[in-house]
């Protein structure tokens, strides 16, 4: 008896855990919307789910009745051969149409609402947008974020202010990708032939609950490391965002390393890495020359290569053998093999790249 009670307790906890985990992680799940767009989409999900549960209940009731009531009991019984029933058939044609109309109206309204990017067309006297615009460029397998009106470029970690609409231009440099921040709203394909536009809004309170760091994903199969083409979104309030922008804008030339090891690392970097990786945030370099992630604020990011823990060890492992961590990436083999001492120096240098000291 005691054992049974224990089992009951365990299963109770199991169910509780299941319910709690049923909504996913606040920084990743579409079921914990953290912005206007995700909120609207979650609303549509709920509406359609309610309607569909209604349908399922009706079908299930008839289904169970049939299974229970009409089992064959008498082998010789020949049931009445019914042709049909016009009234019933009209009912199950008209009611679904009405249900679908209930879903169709908000669907169409929301679809148009989410596609409204008209504020992006307006520019002020300086030729700048009145709204915050981010140009997203997807590459095998990393992301670049350019703020055209602020003149800065960053990579792998999108930084956005909360509680205001952020408008996005999406363009791919190679194959098709798809830009998705599940908790905040999604998603839009990143095509090689055209610029796709949409907007998102990041909720301040929800961002706090999610640790100010949302997970972003590539949602379109783009090659071997499609699964690892993650990015992060640092959603901070407007003041903090302004501070960050000014700090970035202040970096006019590569920051000088301070420790001896980092200085050695900088020398290696200037010889072997700078051909692809920029360490200044300016967007004056042509897009074709930006062939690898910008490293200006690398020391302040939360992941190495978008996926590894942000530690010196990860940097060393990554530079030693990028192919092991992101198969098919474009970095492997583009630079000389490094000794452990060189890797250590490089890691020290990269970790020292911070704009907000």
């Amino acid at each position: 008896m005691k054992r049974l009670a224990k089992w009951r307790l365990i299963s109770l906890f199991a169910i509780l855990a299941l319910v709690l985990s049923g909504c996913g992680k606040p920084y990743l799940s579409t079921l914990q919307p953290a912005g206007d767009v995700a909120e609207m989409q979650f609303g549509l999900m709920k509406l359609s789910t309610y309607i569909m549960i209604g349908v399922i209940i009706v079908v299930t009731v008839i289904f169970l009745l049939v299974l229970v009531k009409f089992r064959r009991k008498d082998e010789n019984m020949i049931p009445k051969q019914v042709e049909g029933n016009h009234r019933l058939e009209i009912i199950w044609t008209v009611i679904p149409i009405l249900l679908l109309l209930i879903l169709a109206v908000p669907t169409v309204a929301t679809t148009f609402n989410l596609a409204n990017v008209s504020p992006m067309d307006k520019k002020n006297a300086d030729g700048k947008h009145n709204v915050l615009v981010v140009n997203v460029r997807a590459n095998l397998y990393w992301w670049e974020f350019e703020y055209p009106d602020l003149g800065i470029v960053t990579s792998q970690e999108l930084v956005v202010p909360t509680n205001q609409k952020v408008y996005f231009n999406l363009k791919s440099s190679d194959v098709k990708h798809s830009f998705w921040i599940p908790a905040v709203g999604g998603k839009l394909d990143v095509n090689p032939e055209n610029v796709n536009k949409f907007w998102l809004e990041f909720d301040n309170k929800k961002a706090d609950e999610a640790g100010n760091l949302f997970y972003g994903k590539c949602a379109e199969l783009c090659g071997e490391s499609h699964a690892l083409m993650d990015f992060k979104v640092k959603a901070i309030d407007k003041d903090k965002f302004q501070t960050w922008v000014r700090a970035m804008q202040n970096v006019k030339k590569p920051q000088e390393a301070t420790t001896a090891s980092a200085q050695e690392g900088q020398q290696i970097f200037s010889k072997s890495c700078i051909g692809c990786h920029a360490v200044t945030p300016t967007n004056s370099t042509p897009i074709a020359a930006r062939i690898a992630p910008n490293m200006t604020n690398f020391g302040e990011r939360s992941r190495v290569a978008g996926i590894l823990p942000h530690t010196k060890e990860s940097i060393k492992n990554w530079i030693k053998n990028p192919e092991k961590y992101k198969p098919g990436n474009k970095m492997a083999g583009k630079y000389p093999t490094m000794s452990d001492a060189q890797l250590n120096a490089l890691a020290d240098y990269l970790m020292s790249l911070k704009v907000q000291k």
């Binding site: 609207m40 999900m45 049909g84 699964a227």
Partner: protein
């Protein structure tokens, strides 16, 4: 004893199947080849689930995973589901309309061999440098950039097998239009025949866009064209349109015959005529028609703009209505009936909740603005496996049990059948239900792994465990097939006892000419009508006479083999020395030579004489 029934050695049997033009034997060929590819695709599915069972797994590498995932989809759709459906269409449809064969028996054989060689070609990629790795949708930007010959195997293999499917579809259309028995009006056709008819029409209109897309991409990859090369003014979105103008009707090509099989099953095992037959036909045609109006819902996230998305969203929702009509009609076919839970009926009954679950998520996906969240996530993976496994595969498994006696003359074991059913059904829901949530929690599809700490671990493990239940079910089915074939207990005309349509009036398997005398059809469920009037067989519509039959031919095999050879030449030209072009021409010469031979050599077939037919009576063919 009949002059036509002889015991054959293995070599003779093999030659018989290589040259046959008999729809019943071609059905068996489709069943074997489709079944084989189903097992191959199933193994690929198991590898996928093993790889994804735990985070950061290295059971397969990233590149190999993409190949397995691509081949799983391509194999299951083109080389397993389609041929298995064609197997049932071939086996059952001519019998159901009271015909002696399809309209063009030679073309029927050609269709099979084209599919077969296309499928073999595609799968040889595993041994010749790697399989295609751009997904079964093979989106252009990735496919054109894909290294090696994988995608070339996809392009050439699908073109060859696609021709086979297309001519098969045309053949069925002509057969149903022209070869129905006297009295078999359109509105007296069994539901499976209707499904075959509408499906064949869909094939006729859906496959050409795919072929166009494949040809364009083949020129891009093999002959330096730039249709999909953005830097040269090409456009990759065009591929998506071409693919989905084919691809969406394709899913209806798969599901409508499944509806047909279930319609027959419900009526047979409820001992009741199909409820609302006319509205069932209407719904079928409407689904087929609307199926061509909704392709862009696969592209909601493409950035086509709100007008396009809104129109396609509403059109997609509209398909829910005829599908709902069918569900309720099936339920009310059972209502008031005398329902017997045989293995095929278990599949039919389980299909209803499974397919309703897949259908309602389909309506959820139709809501464009919400689809931006579902699109390309595991939610979509869950959805289409619910409709394809919960609809098509359950129908194929149920249909296998239902029609096995009609095709082979012996019954599959019911106990083993039910074990297969429960293992497969439990495994199916275990695997795919949780995937809805994985998608909503933010897991994209087509990922070769996932990092820990995102809350995906438990659900993926559950999903992988489910896959092994399904595999166990299929293994039990294979055991069932082997033991049944070894025992080979012969059964009579109507082994289920409640057959309603013409095929159940024939012996199992039917004689090679099907009907000694073409039957007179006096209403829907013609055989049921005769049975209810106390008759044992069908009412003949003609006096006993000579029957004209087509000769067997090896040419369909040769024509297809030629294209198979030519495909290697096309693929390897410009590398490995100079042998490729001669091989290309050799292959085309084999094909064109066989076609030429077919054209100049008159083949009038042969006649079965009245006297021989009268001797056949002891075989139980009452016509």
């Amino acid at each position: 004893m009949s002059t036509y029934a002889k015991k054959q050695g293995f070599g003779a049997t093999l030659w018989d199947f290589l040259t046959t033009v008999d729809h019943k034997k071609i059905a068996i060929l489709y069943l074997i080849a489709g079944g084989f590819f189903f097992v191959v695709g199933g193994l690929e599915a198991l590898f996928i689930r093993i790889q994804l069972a735990v985070p950061n797994n290295d059971f397969v590498s990233a590149g190999l995973y993409n190949q397995i995932m691509t081949m799983h989809g391509t194999t299951m759709i083109f080389l397993a589901a389609m041929p298995l459906i064609f197997a049932f269409m071939n086996a059952v449809m001519p019998l159901q309309i009271g015909a002696r064969d399809v309209a063009f028996p030679f073309v029927n054989a050609l269709g099979f061999w084209l599919f077969f060689f296309g499928g073999v070609f595609l799968n040889l990629s595993w041994f010749l440098g790697g399989a295609p790795d751009a997904g079964w949708t093979s989106y252009a930007s990735l496919a054109v950039a894909s290294k090696g010959h994988g995608v070339d195997f996809y392009l050439l293999g699908l073109q060859i097998s696609g021709f086979g499917t297309l001519i098969g579809g045309i053949n069925f259309l002509v057969t149903i239009i022209n070869m129905r028995a006297p009295g078999m009006t359109y509105m007296r056709m069994p539901m499976f025949t209707w499904a075959t008819f509408v499906t064949s029409a869909l094939i006729l209109f859906a496959f050409p866009p795919l072929t166009i897309g494949l040809v364009l991409m083949m020129f891009d990859r093999l002959f330096g064209a730039k249709f999909f090369e953005v830097s040269m003014g090409g456009n990759t979105i065009i591929w998506e349109h071409l693919f989905w103008i084919f691809g969406h009707p394709e899913v209806y090509i798969l599901i409508l015959p499944a509806f047909g099989i279930f319609s027959e099953t419900f009526a047979i095992f409820s001992r009741k005529r199909l409820f609302g037959y006319s509205s069932m036909v209407f719904a079928l045609v409407l689904i087929g028609f609307l199926g061509f109006m909704v392709w862009a819902h696969h592209m909601f996230a493409d950035g086509l703009g709100p007008v396009t998305n809104a129109i396609f969203a509403v059109a997609t929702m509209a398909i829910g209505v005829p599908t709902g009509i069918k569900i309720f009609n099936w339920l009310f076919t059972m209502w008031g009936g005398s329902v017997k839970f045989t293995t095929p009926m278990l599949y039919a009954v389980a299909f209803i909740p499974s397919f309703v679950a897949g259908g309602v998520t389909g309506v959820m996906l139709a809501s464009a603005a919400a689809d931006y969240q579902y699109h390309d996530s595991y939610f979509v993976v869950a959805h289409f496996h619910y409709v394809i496994v919960g609809g098509v595969v359950l129908a194929l498994l149920g249909g296998t049990h239902l029609y096995w006696p009609k095709i082979f003359g012996t019954m599959l074991n019911e106990t083993l059948g039910k074990i297969t059913f429960w293992l497969f059904l439990i495994g199916f829901h275990l695997t795919f239900f949780i995937q809805h949530f994985l998608g909503l929690w933010g897991m994209p599809r087509r990922v070769f792994t996932y990092l820990p700490g995102q809350g995906f671990e438990t659900a993926n493990m559950v999903s992988s465990v489910g896959a092994f239940f399904m595999a166990a079910g299929v293994i039990v089915l294979l055991i069932n097939i082997i033991t049944t074939s070894v025992k080979n207990v012969r059964v009579g005309n109507d082994p289920w006892g409640d057959g309603r349509t013409l095929e159940w009036a024939l012996s199992s398997p039917p004689p090679f000419y099907n009907y000694k005398q073409l039957p007179l059809v006096r209403g829907l469920d013609a055989y049921w009508i005769e049975k209810m009037e106390g008759k044992k067989g069908l009412t003949p519509a003609e006096p006993l006479g000579d029957i004209h039959m087509p000769n067997s031919s090896f040419l369909p095999f040769m024509m297809s083999f030629g294209l198979f050879v030519a495909a290697f030449g096309a693929m390897y030209h410009g590398e490995h020395g100079t042998w490729a072009f001669p091989v290309l021409f050799l292959g085309l010469a084999i094909t064109l030579g066989s076609m030429f031979l077919r054209s100049v050599k008159d083949d009038h077939g042969f006649h079965i004489h009245k006297e021989d037919l009268m001797d056949d009576d002891e075989k139980g063919v009452k016509a």
